[in-house]
Subunit: 427 residues, 2 copies
């Protein structure tokens, strides 16, 4: 048997033990198969690893897919359609990528239109596709250097002529990565993150609808970094969230992603998805095509931490912050910490650390001018993050410290829709 | 002039500088007045500190209030009404307490019915009142030992015959304290936390309505630890939240408090507040009067920390956790951290630390059996916090480690409504 073969794997050991329901798996053998494990891409698109020991593998059909160096010049069988826009799909890993990126277990740098359409046939006829793999990691393992690789990959795809970019990303840290690209990139085309809360082998999977809606959003006129995920628990529409205002607010629901403190930028109506003219609609002001020239500022100061304050907290956590370039505090209420912490925070500021206050309330604006503790924090040199989300403030501070001459002032100004300026003074 | 006098303070210095609107303040002089500052309780109930320099103070009426040892046996002029229940008001500080606790600047251990009715006349005729001061601190300065003092004070009031207890508390950490009392107390009467998001001198203050609704809830049949705060931005009703499921989800809105993952226990209709029979209503099952006997288990293991995981995080934070009795992790998604952290977490568990996983998504249930990282964490001995809020899990772990023989099992069981058991297995 060889990678690319269609196989059936039977857990003979389990059958021998008398189990009536000994599991069998049918799908395409993947190159990541090892001496101890076979990895099979199920027809639903999900990968499973199965112990070789105690398993019988039958090859049903050889060489269903050609596996190897994807840099080979095998011409794609999918013809380029001059009348359609070109959408670049960039994979970073995660549940949705396991559907589209057939070679997920292998080391490849590209996939092509044929791979895309094989995985999600519903994408056919909507765009010409280009594919690129930036990483193949679970999103909890995402790091700032991958954000940078991804931003450069988006730039490369735009320079190569993509009319829109879809980034496939695990949902756990999607909001952090979307924030990072929002600050690093001035993009003249839509950059749309999408993912999947349920894997493709489950009947409730959201991956096809999310992928289709993301491609439609990538063809739209809104040239922002957005997140496209289910707007409701039904398969009726996706919401388009600004990358710096979105938050994963539920562990498992398909509509886990929400825009915090505002309405989403727009929606993609999936029921009307065949009528391209009405599928994507925007309710809020946004930057449009031709209003922006491609630019990338991808420096990041990664010596930045986020610390959530809770009652009874060990002050030793502050020791870890000594000498850091930046710190985002997630305080209580309007932006408070225990009074005993204020002096230590003042010392951090005096030592050159930029300290930004956000709130664990998630919604609403930090305001440290109302109560004593807040005023003491301002006197100590703490910068208010206004209504920036704590997670976004962390990413913004990494970017601002590497790209702005006056980081303190920059943290109080909107750079990528992450902050709304106070309309009336607090009275 | 003496504390207790009614005074008018004029900022003459400002007037001399030609300011047309030189501020004047009228109210009761407080004992916390110092050599450099006079502190006045304004008629709205809010305290202001004013520089003595450049201020003219006129005494309008001497000795309006008697200030001093409140332990004095001055008989209250408010008569006890046998037909009304008795509600104990316990003050811990915060915006709402500054209204009711007239002697906020002084060191007193009690206040009486007269003080209560002077501050919030709308409370008259609803109950007989007893008053007790447990602390006078901003709630960001709240610590586990004050939670214990408060729990003991509630027990004392119940033993002294209170038919219900209202706890006045700053809003910043109210949810942590309400959780603590939920675990520590078996209460045969309602214990109702309330607070104020806007101080009493602002026209939009929520303190009167919240205090009235809290007293009505304290007279109700629901003997749980609850939080009573505005249910909407209007003055129409308060929501009654279970103490272990409530979260301050907005920095400044009057309806900042929400029950997460469920409907509130009930509501207090403020528009119909005069009709006692309809004012308080409950929608969800709860423990009723006579179903429970008073008990207090107030031990806490305070060597417990909460740590929020974010991408790019310095692993040095894990050093602080070494040797701790307990750790609550706020992971991503279904309950994940970077793979590189798993081994360190396993070492913590092996050293005897109880490690509990919760999710920064806030809503939804942790489930570490779906993805590799989660399974690795379970193998490492991490306990799933199910759908317990991270902040509540922190408090629960402090309590469980001091009171339960098998903390790991206890963290997966509901003890005070903080956790709903999985109805169907994850598939």
């Amino acid at each position: 048997m060889n990678p690319g073969d269609r196989v059936r794997v039977e857990r003979a050991a389990a059958a021998a033990e008398g189990a009536d329901d000994a599991p069998t798996y049918e799908g395409i053998l993947l190159p990541s198969t090892t001496a101890t494990e076979v990895v099979v891409k199920l027809d639903g698109g999900y990968n499973v690893g199965i112990d070789r020991e105690g398993s019988d593998v039958d090859v049903l059909e050889e060489g269903v897919f050609e596996v190897g160096e994807s840099e080979s010049d095998d011409a794609s069988t999918v013809e380029f359609d001059d009348d359609l826009p070109t959408v670049a799909l960039i994979s970073t890993g995660g549940t949705i990528a396991s559907t589209v990126d057939y070679r997920t277990g292998a080391v490849t740098a590209q996939f092509d239109a044929e791979d895309v359409l094989r995985a999600v046939p519903d994408l056919a006829g909507r765009a010409n596709y280009r594919g690129r793999v930036v990483a193949n990691i679970l999103s909890e393992n995402m790091t700032p250097d991958v954000w940078q690789d991804l931003a450069r990959a988006v730039r490369a795809e735009v320079e190569a002529g993509a009319d829109g970019v879809v980034v496939m990303h695990g949902t756990d840290t999607m909001q952090y990565t979307a924030s990072a690209l929002s600050f690093m990139l001035d993009t003249p085309v839509p950059v749309v993150f999408t993912g999947s809360q349920r894997s493709a082998d489950r009947p409730s999977s959201d991956n096809v609808m999310n992928a289709v809606c993301a491609v439609e959003a990538a063809k739209s006129d809104c040239v922002e970094v957005m997140v496209c995920m289910h707007a409701t628990e039904s398969d009726d529409r996706c919401a388009l969230h600004r990358g710096t205002r979105v938050r994963k607010n539920h562990t498992s629901r398909r509509d886990a992603f929400e825009t915090v403190g505002a309405e989403p930028l727009g929606t993609v109506d999936y029921s009307g998805i065949d009528d391209e003219s009405v599928a994507v609609s925007f309710r809020r002001p946004h930057v449009e095509r031709d209003e922006r020239v491609l630019a990338l500022r991808d420096d990041l100061e990664t010596d930045v931490e986020l610390l959530k304050f809770v009652p009874g907290m060990d002050p030793q956590f502050l020791d870890v912050l000594e000498g850091k370039a930046g710190v985002v505090l997630e305080g209580t209420g309007l932006g408070h910490v225990h009074t005993d912490f204020v002096e230590r925070i003042e010392e951090l500021v005096e030592d050159g650390t930029t300290v930004v206050m956000t709130s664990q309330c998630i919604e609403g604006r930090v305001c440290d001018r109302v109560y004593d503790t807040g005023r003491d924090l301002l006197d100590a040199g703490v910068v208010e993050g206004e209504d920036t989300l704590p997670e976004t403030a962390l990413v913004k501070l990494m970017w601002v410290l590497a790209n702005e001459d006056d980081p303190e002032t920059a943290m109080g100004r909107p750079l990528a829709g992450e902050l709304t300026e106070r309309s009336v003074p607090w009275t």
